[in-house]
Symmetry: C2
Subunit: 362 residues, 2 copies
């Protein structure tokens, strides 16, 4: 795609819209703050790369003290392994011979690779792929209340752990959960009971990995967890501000957009449609906040248009051709729509990075 | 991205998931049916490339009788101009010197390029860019009820047409609207009155372009329109079935997905998250239909997971590792998430096409 990517030094006002941009200083502060929190509470921190999908940003996270990275798919892990990352946890059930064979190749070339499993079917596929000479570390995924994947009880977690531990090509690495927001007590209860049951069986459970950005600063309320995983915190977004996880001053991502139409007194149209913002609502009733124009509501999106209802906007809204800054509801999905990401400091572009793992769904 | 794209001849069951796939015969039938309808009613047909973003598919549409293509952005039009298309309508207000300068270069190299404008600001930008030696055709965009872009009245349309007609570097090409669903009567009234007013001023209005897939087969109820634009019809989707535009047998796109978890009796998890389906609801309360499993509802998406509520599913749902076919709510946005698209016939892959204009938001 022949996008006019800006040179370093370009003023933000000259960046082609629609375009998400990342504030270097805010991102660095987000990385430092979360790492300091985890250090303070003795938790290993493992950032999820889904939010940025950029090797250079993951390098900043690891340089700040992260133990490794968290990916969701084999292709994502391959991209980051190619970039030199050697401690990767893939928090996904890997199924089918094609994916398993690439997972095996990946395991052979990086120092520490681990995956999760929540079923006998998944473990059986892994068991038939890996060998004792180069075993794969497998964590049991536990559903502690988020109602997505995961075994439903500590007893089921132990049964699956025993199955993993019985296979020569696999190593039981511990337990992992993606918890519900506000679920620290449930997570702690599940982890503690699972550890107790495993201990009774004589099975070591070195890693207890919890995660999520909205509850990140409640990680110390889960003493049984050894590590925390989070993605969104690196850029933050409107949903994180609402969750109290950060303030507007911690928002590193904005989507630059241009007013392309002012068809009626109560309506403006921006050039950031669902191909720039996505339709993720995350509980909001509109599709993003327009910086500095609180009453202006993005009430509908089509692929290339964002329709803004101005009826509650008390301040004069910008005219056609003017740039505005939109705070997306959900930053991770915006990243996935762009081939590259523009970074800036003090109003000028610092660098343009390839979104290395964009679209890596496999 | 190192995706394992399938070779021609590969059975669909072996395609790596998640992956949207296109049924060649259904797509060809969709193209033929809509062209025949437009031919029958004397309407020029101009397919919107946003749904497929693939030059080879646009070629099939033009070979079937389409007069040209409809793009939304300059970068999209560049991609299709590079592929040899020489009649392109960009239905967007093009603003700013960078976009205008590329628009000028595009106009210099293809036979017929047109854009739309709905404001004096947009026309002024075009006027300062184009010259009499190589003028640009401009249509006035009219808001006939969809409440997106467009001038609000026939009188405003005429005023803008006069402004366009007065510029040496521009040619007034006619009027264009993206109507509300079910709005044929409003469209006809707006177009007819605008034509009458233009005629009184002695201004020719050769093109009257209406559009939209949900109402495509009501295009004959707008006698004043000379052409119709539509995108979604080529693949169709769940929203088109609901609109009565097509039946389930006309659905050319399915998203192949794999069951990756069966954590509880009433829950399954698929590997087609928002990075495969997007969060577009289009009025539905769930994120897609699972072919053959009517009561199974995709109740939530995260980037890589689709959580399926099985509590109303009377049929046994597939086990972990099994492939299912999902009918997306909205086909166009799925296309935009994948670098390539897989086509098939009789259960086997026929070709893999680059999604040439993926991500072209500029």
């Amino acid at each position: 795609m022949s996008y006019p990517w800006p040179e370093a030094g370009t003023p933000l006002e000259q960046v082609a819209t629609p375009m998400p941009v990342i504030d270097e200083d805010r991102m660095a502060a987000n990385i430092a703050r979360v790492q300091a929190y985890c250090d303070q509470h003795g938790k290993a921190f493992r950032p999820h790369i889904k939010t940025h999908k950029i090797a250079a940003v993951a390098r900043q996270q690891v340089d700040a003290g992260a133990v490794g990275i968290n990916c969701q798919k084999v292709t994502e892990a391959e991209v980051f392994a190619d970039a030199g990352f050697d401690d990767i946890l893939i928090t996904y059930n890997i199924l089918g011979s094609a994916k398993l064979s690439r997972l095996k190749a990946l395991n052979a070339r990086i120092a520490r690779l681990a995956v999760v499993a929540d079923s006998e079917v998944t473990v059986a596929g892994l068991a038939s792929t890996f060998e004792a000479g180069r075993p794969l570390t497998v964590l049991v995924e536990c559903d502690t209340g988020a109602r997505r994947c995961g075994v439903q009880t500590p007893e089921a977690a132990v049964a699956l752990a025993e199955q993993i531990a019985s296979v020569a090509g696999l190593r039981f690495g511990g337990i992992m959960t993606y918890p519900a927001v506000g679920g620290a007590a449930e997570v702690e209860a599940f982890l503690a009971r699972t550890m107790m049951l495993l201990s009774q069986k004589g099975i070591d459970c070195p890693v207890r990995s919890s995660g999520g950005s909205p509850d990140l600063f409640a990680a110390h309320l889960v003493p049984s967890a050894t590590e925390h995983r989070a993605g969104t915190y690196v850029y933050n977004d409107r949903s994180m501000v609402r969750a109290g996880h950060c303030t507007a001053d911690d928002l590193a991502m904005h989507v630059l957009a241009t007013v392309v139409s002012r068809p009626a007194a109560d309506r403006a149209v921006l050039d950031c449609g669902s191909k720039a913002l996505t339709s993720d609502l995350l509980g909001f009733t509109d599709y993003g906040a327009i910086d500095g124009f609180e009453g202006a509501r993005i009430v509908s999106l089509s692929e290339e248009h964002a329709v803004v209802d101005l009826s509650e906007c008390t301040k004069p809204f910008p005219q056609i051709g003017t740039m505005v800054k939109v705070v997306p509801n959900h930053t991770c999905v915006v990243t996935n729509l762009f081939d590259r990401m523009v970074f800036h400091r003090n109003g000028r572009v610092t660098r343009v990075e390839n979104v290395d793992a964009r679209g890596a769904v496999w």
